[in-house]
């Protein structure tokens, strides 16, 4: 779907080298996440692929064609939700969908159905200026998928949303993935990446540090031990055991049998730990 090789980009006005030697690919039907602190270059990369920034160096192949060879037809096939809601504030929710929907050749999804999906059906005839931020974000989100695009770009899709709304958005992203859509999202939220992405790229200061599936990364960089806290002979104890051949570890089995167990944890690293370990940087 997307193939990026040795991508370099500099903002002309500020001479800021925003992207350096970036290479990655996104496969069909995959949810690919760009993970990094703010200012890392996530939005810039996305906008390069979307086509809002020109004059890049390197290769960006999207939907089988070099990015700068594409004309406006490109936008029939992709859906974009920016990191802030872009809506006609004087129009109602439904009018917003109908207005933009009319510009696509594809038959658009029924607005009522879309609004129902994100819990906005009761407010479909309310002007957007009276919406809360969460409502605007949800409307903005369904607007980006209404024309049934094959490839979708979401910039920080859940940022600033409460857990309920974030959950709705995440569910829809997973639905889209089930329908074999390809999704490229950016986030600085590890949980989102862990829950949604097939593969993630860690990016810092315009460079990719590592790419992999969240699970693989966690296994590779986690410690293979289990930590047990227990009470024995009136005292509290804590001990680590190797995961390897745990069932044959007599001390471990003994504790399980005779001690009062407080907690047991396997110590795979969180994505956040790995990010800090690999980049030396905190997220956010």
């Amino acid at each position: 779907m997307i193939q990026v090789e040795n991508l370099n980009f500099t903002y002309k006005k500020t001479r800021k080298k925003a992207i350096q030697e970036m290479s990655f690919d996104v496969k069909e039907g995959e949810v690919f996440g760009f993970l990094g602190p703010s200012g890392a270059g996530k939005t810039t990369t996305q906008r390069l692929i979307i086509g809002l920034l020109r004059n890049y160096h390197g290769k960006i192949e999207v939907l089988g064609k070099e990015r700068n060879q594409w004309g406006k037809d490109y936008y029939e096939h992709i859906g974009v939700a920016f990191d802030f809601p872009n809506l006609y504030t004087k129009l109602t929710a439904k009018e917003n969908l109908q207005l933009i929907g009319a510009y696509y050749k594809n038959e658009c999804e029924d607005p009522d159905k879309l609004l129902e999906r994100v819990g906005l059906l009761p407010e479909k005839d309310v002007r957007v200026e009276n919406f809360s931020k969460g409502m605007k974000m949800r409307l903005n989100f369904v607007r980006s998928i209404m024309h049934n695009p094959r490839l979708m770009f979401f910039d920080e899709p859940t940022s600033g949303l409460d857990p309920m709304n974030a959950h709705i958005i995440k569910e829809i992203i997973l639905e889209q993935k089930k329908a074999n859509k390809t999704i490229f999202l950016t986030t600085h939220n590890m949980t989102v990446a862990e829950q949604l992405c097939d593969r993630v790229a860690f990016i810092v200061e315009g460079k990719i540090v590592v790419i992999g599936s969240p699970k693989d990364l966690m296994i590779e960089h986690g410690k293979r031990i289990v930590n047990v806290e227990f009470r024995m002979n009136g005292n509290n104890h804590a001990k680590n055991f190797d995961l390897q051949n745990l069932g044959e570890n007599l001390e471990f089995m003994n504790i399980l049998k005779s001690a009062e167990i407080k907690t047991i944890h396997s110590c795979e690293a969180t994505l956040e730990d790995i990010f800090i370990k690999l980049t030396g940087r905190n997220l956010v």
Binding site: F9, Y11, K12, R47, I50, G51, L52, L53, R54, N55, K72, D73, Y75, E76, I78, V80, F82, F84, P85, N86, L87, Y88, T89, K90, L99, I100, A102, Y103, Y104, K105, R143
Partner: protein, 230 residues
């Protein structure tokens, strides 16, 4: 199809914003004034009013319209939709030209001026309106506030309006016809006072050419300054 949708959307927006209502009021005001003018003054004042208000309204409004779409972020959404830049711009031109034409015709019709060439009036107000709307989009490209925009239009207005006094007639003043606003005013005056058919055709063709050139140029400026942020 896309263009048609865009035009319809723009018209609906303009109605909601009260453009049409305001022009009903303004037309009424002009009509009151016109009804008091003696015929010989009306013959000069009517074309000047139609030229200076309805035909130029695009320049006045387009700044605010684009600033608002930019501010709400919907311009970005249009950029990543299949709607072409030229369709977006032409849609603004057409929708505003419709207001221009309606106001121009209403003011003229109710002033009961005896000899109006309606076709010429139609053509000249469309062509004039187009030029000024496109000019407005171009000026708007680098602006962030309405005040900035209004200030930036002042030099252009001077450049366009001052040469119009050339029509009062002094040596070599014919040369000023090369300036689009002067050509447009000539055509407008012609639709009230009569004009040789080949002169009218030449002026109309010239203005159409200017419109097309400006459209092309405006699309470029629009894409470079508003669409792309590199």
């Amino acid at each position: 199809m896309r263009l048609l949708h865009a035009v319809m959307a723009d018209i609906r927006f303009q109605i909601k914003q009260g453009f049409y209502l305001v022009y009903v009021i303004i037309t009424a005001m002009y009509l009151i004034i016109m009804s008091f003018l003696p015929d010989d003054i009306l013959a000069v004042a009517l074309p000047l009013v139609v030229f200076s208000d309805p035909s130029v309204l695009g320049l006045f409004f387009i700044g605010g319209i684009i600033l608002m779409e930019k501010g709400q972020g919907v311009l970005m959404v249009l950029v990543v939709s299949p709607l072409r830049s030229w369709e977006y711009i032409l849609s603004k031109v057409i929708s505003l030209a419709i207001v221009s034409v309606l106001a121009a015709i209403a003011i003229t019709y109710f002033s009961y001026y005896p000899t109006v060439n309606w076709w010429l009036l139609l053509v000249s107000s469309i062509l004039t309106s187009g030029i000024f709307t496109l000019l407005g989009i171009m000026i708007n490209a680098g602006c962030n506030t309405v005040n900035q925009y209004m200030l930036k239009t002042i030099p252009y207005m001077l450049l366009f309006i001052l040469p119009c006094f050339a029509l009062l007639g002094f040596p070599y003043s014919e040369l000023f016809t090369i300036i689009p606003s002067v050509a447009a005013l000539k055509l407008m005056l012609g639709s009230f006072h009569g004009i040789l058919w080949y002169e009218a055709t030449a002026l109309a063709v010239y203005l159409l050419g200017i419109n097309l050139l400006l459209l092309k140029f405006t699309v470029r400026v629009f894409e470079n300054k508003i669409v792309y942020q590199d």
